[in-house]
Amino acid sequence: MRIALVSDVHANLEALEAVLNHIESENTDTICSLGDVVGYGSDPSACLELVDKICQIKLIGNHDYYALGRESSNDYSPLAKISTEWTKKTLTDKDVSILDSFTMEEVIEGIHLVHASPFKPQEFHYILTHKDAADAFPNCKTNLCFMGHTHVPVIFNEKPGQPPRQRVGHDFVPQPDCKYLINVGSVGQPRDNDPRASYVVYDTETRDVCYHRIEYDIKSAQRKMEEAELPEMLIERLAVGK
């Protein structure tokens, strides 16, 4: 089974469409959204409808959570707050019911899916360092756990008796005696200095984890954000991937 894993679309319709086009050519059997479909970008409704229609698994991210008016124990940035307020105003009742159907975590085909961290998923902890990963590993329900949230494609792995490792996201074949936390990067707002949309395909038979970086029409996405009068910094970061 070939599984496409997308995360952090952040209401960027141009990036989402480009990624979905590419997924079509990848012969996948299922598409999983790891959360944060809304927030930051100018097309929350269109992205929600598309994700709802095309993805078989839909997880809730912190931005989706806030857009539903729910509280999280984690503070979030002023920019995120501004875009959340904007998003809340834009969402229709139908959009809200779609968001409300999203789940916190799933296990399918021997892989564990979360938005941020398998450690208390509803608290949306960031996994940025070895230490964060070390706290998260005991909560992994399978040897492979995929997530998003930080917008940075990265792979952590842990093997008893060995120091933990952290590497930039790249194509690899997970080894059976090791646990992995795999961040698939962000579709709609990458932050690893590469502005191209990021997503991953995992093949359950060959065990290949394959990262894809997809170019999309960044200028159009930025223009629509300007029209929506979203914060300038959020518009500019798309072009540089920061």
Partner: protein
Amino acid sequence: MAEILVKFEDKLIERIVTEKRRLSIGRTTDNDIVLENRGVSRKHAMIEFNENAAVIIDNESLNGTFVNNRKISEEVLRDSDVISIGKYSLIYKTETSQEADEAINFDGTMVLNTKAQRKLLENDRVDRQIIEKYGGSVLLGEENADFLEFKLDREVTTIGKAKFVHVKAKGFFLAGIQAKIVQENNNFSLVNLGKAKKTKLNGEPVSRAHLKNGDIITIGKSTFKFVEGSK
């Protein structure tokens, strides 16, 4: 302390700093440098550090180990040498820096039949033929050069615009002798003698640098490739 920069298709993915005397490289997780890719054998190669040198040893791997684009079985590593294993390149640093038709063989390693792997093998074969022909290191004329192959058998080989230099280069504002290649104990270095930006090594302006097999030297508009003879 030695450092190894691990790249996957030109993207830096990991930095390994070690004090170990021996580093194993392979696909399985019991190696010190784990490269989880099908083109890599379970126990692919080994780097051994002794008093004054580091040596890489290929463990009869299926797809081979390359140092500076040359297939090796055992090779002494020098600073900034590039080890290629499958789609990975490992850059060896003596000091810590600041900064598909594939078949599976018995241990599960796939025979790499990718464009990149074929190119590596083909370049290696051509380089070996040239070295054999000249019995030493050679400069290949790649662009705007008046030769295809030039044997580097002098202690000093001059490059520039002047009539008397050994290797003629083209381009505006080049010095008569823009650069020289110096040979010391079978080691070659490129030394800039003219305008700084007119002498480049692998695209970067250079004042003095040790030459490695496969290095691209650009003098003004002329480009040469350095093919290192066996030692």
